[in-house]
Symmetry: C2
Subunit: 336 residues, 2 copies
């Protein structure tokens, strides 16, 4: 387990260390975020540099490469694809941020460009997992303890899952420290799940413990990176992670879940980002169906709570609490 | 593991449910806190009802009793003493709060009365553990994986530990949501440690898994209770836990650690409360030794950060991050 401790601490240290320099650099390049126009009264946030998510990227990359288990046991053929999902998802977000912040075009990438990039990543990774001997088309069903073989449907279902999770993560990133805090807690949950799979012999057969060893180092790196990033992102934020960061975290989270063959647990550990997506979808359809009525004062639902009078820090604390409860349930579901 | 999920959820529900009623009741009784006079500019907090910790007490008590493992296996002879440590520690805090808030006497219990109460609890529990066949005088040394037999010294050393932890917890409780958040994270860590001990056969010999089953239900109850309480205690707080709550949490935490024979892990999971104590002690001795100089602008050290210009929510987030990192290291140290 020393690898995981090392991964978490290095990633934390890297994010903390490069934070001030990165923020100064982003500011100098006039990377001030153009605040999404529909957000309630966040005008004072104009000028906060976006793309602070790059400090997490640096931490995750370094830790994952340095503390990766030795190659001959579930080696780079799992770690590299996981990193690719995280970093290619990030690249889509980065392109969007860059166009908005540097080119000063409000609209960023058009939606189809974003989706096209995500589809490539999602389908590519799903196909890879499908054919990988240590992953395959069966996913584990928590609580029940059985497996569910999706057969060829694994590919489209998982590809949609990747796209859905990456965008959910992106949608949740709207308040200082919100997604960072939620991902800290959920990544810690995934880390513990990996530890359980590695140490409990009865679980090793279900998900190979080499997968868990690889995903565990990655989860530890994500946890450390998020905590380091929060140093600069908590209210009042000195930097935002941007689409850069939110898509990195979404991509990393879904990749871990798939490598562990536990994508169903995302419903628990990543419940609040999923809720953000679902609230947007509900709002849109309800609005169309009723010709103008709204379920929430504003979607994603964290803006609804803001309009209701909750402060940013209160909402972050509430989401963190929910994520903590659900992540612990996820952990307990594995322990059987 | 369903018992632990149940314990966490019931405790959460109880704290959430009785919260509003309890706060209204405490307000009506004019239980407004008399803010500790040395705190920096917290005068606006005058009138916030103290003793909100009672809502956690209700959750912990109910969950521990209802979801306790069946008696014949490491049964009530572990759960009842743990509850006693938590609730008798709370009683000392409650007496203090009651005198301050209801009798409106600023000074509360005098220090010797407090210490006397704590000594009785601490020595009583240490003697009990010493003679209990499933605990005894050996404590486990994490990382190294060996045991350390304290012999008869177990009693004084552990008694001092109990007193130290309860007072550390009490000293950390000075900012909205601070101790509640830290204890949420540390209790979740203890819960995971219990799960590991229960499911990893190699660990069962070291600490009996019945101990872990009992402590796990208790840890789950504490986690749920803290998250529920934070609903009302996060900044801006509608109620404070008071000495009632802080001593309950301190007592509960140290009791779990001792039942698991892992008191050394308190240094990790309960690092920030311990730091609060240590900062007070350092400040006092340095002040005496130098005839008036100070290390910190103010102690406990969270007030130092406040004076440095950090907001309450920033300090809470920082302490939570530190506790998360250290609790994960504690978990990993057990997994070996």
């Amino acid at each position: 387990m020393y690898r995981m401790i090392g991964s978490m601490l290095l990633s934390l240290a890297v994010a903390l260390a490069i934070g001030p320099g990165l923020i100064a650099y982003l500011k100098k390049l006039h990377f001030g975020q153009t605040i999404y126009e529909l957000g309630p009264s966040h005008q004072q946030k104009q000028g906060t540099p976006v793309m602070g998510g790059l400090m997490m990227a640096a931490g995750i990359l370094l830790s994952s490469l340095i503390f990766h288990p030795l190659p001959w046991k579930g080696g780079w053929d799992l770690m590299i694809p996981m990193l690719l999902v995280a970093f290619l998802s990030m690249a889509v977000g980065f392109a969007d941020d860059y166009i908005k912040a540097v080119r000063k075009r409000h609209d960023g990438l058009n939606p189809w460009q974003k989706i096209a990039g995500q589809v490539v990543v999602a389908v590519g990774f799903s196909v890879y997992c499908y054919y990988h001997p240590m992953i395959g088309s069966s996913i584990r069903v928590p609580f029940v303890g059985t497996e569910w073989d999706l057969g060829f449907f694994y590919i489209p279902v998982m590809a949609l899952t990747v796209i859905f999770i990456v965008n959910s993560s992106n949608l949740q990133d709207g308040l200082d420290g919100l997604l960072g805090t939620v991902t800290t807690v959920s990544s810690a949950g995934w880390l513990v799940i990996c530890v359980l799979i590695m140490t409990v012999p009865a679980l090793a057969g279900i998900t190979d413990d080499a997968n868990a060893g690889t995903a565990g180092v990655f989860a530890a790196a994500m946890t450390g990176a998020c905590i380091g990033f929060l140093r600069y992102n908590r209210y009042p934020a000195k930097t935002f992670m941007g689409d850069t960061g939110s898509m990195l975290l979404g991509g990393g989270t879904v990749a871990m879940a798939m490598v562990l063959r536990l994508p169903l647990l995302l419903i628990l550990t990543f419940f609040t980002p999923i809720m953000s997506s679902v609230s947007v979808i509900m709002q849109r359809y309800y609005f169309k169906a009723t010709h103008g009525k709204r379920i929430f004062l504003m979607s994603p639902v964290h803006h609804h709570f803001e309009k209701k009078g909750y402060s940013e820090t209160q909402i972050v604390s509430m989401y963190a609490g929910i994520t903590m409860i659900l992540s612990l349930i996820a952990v307990l579901s594995i322990a059987g």
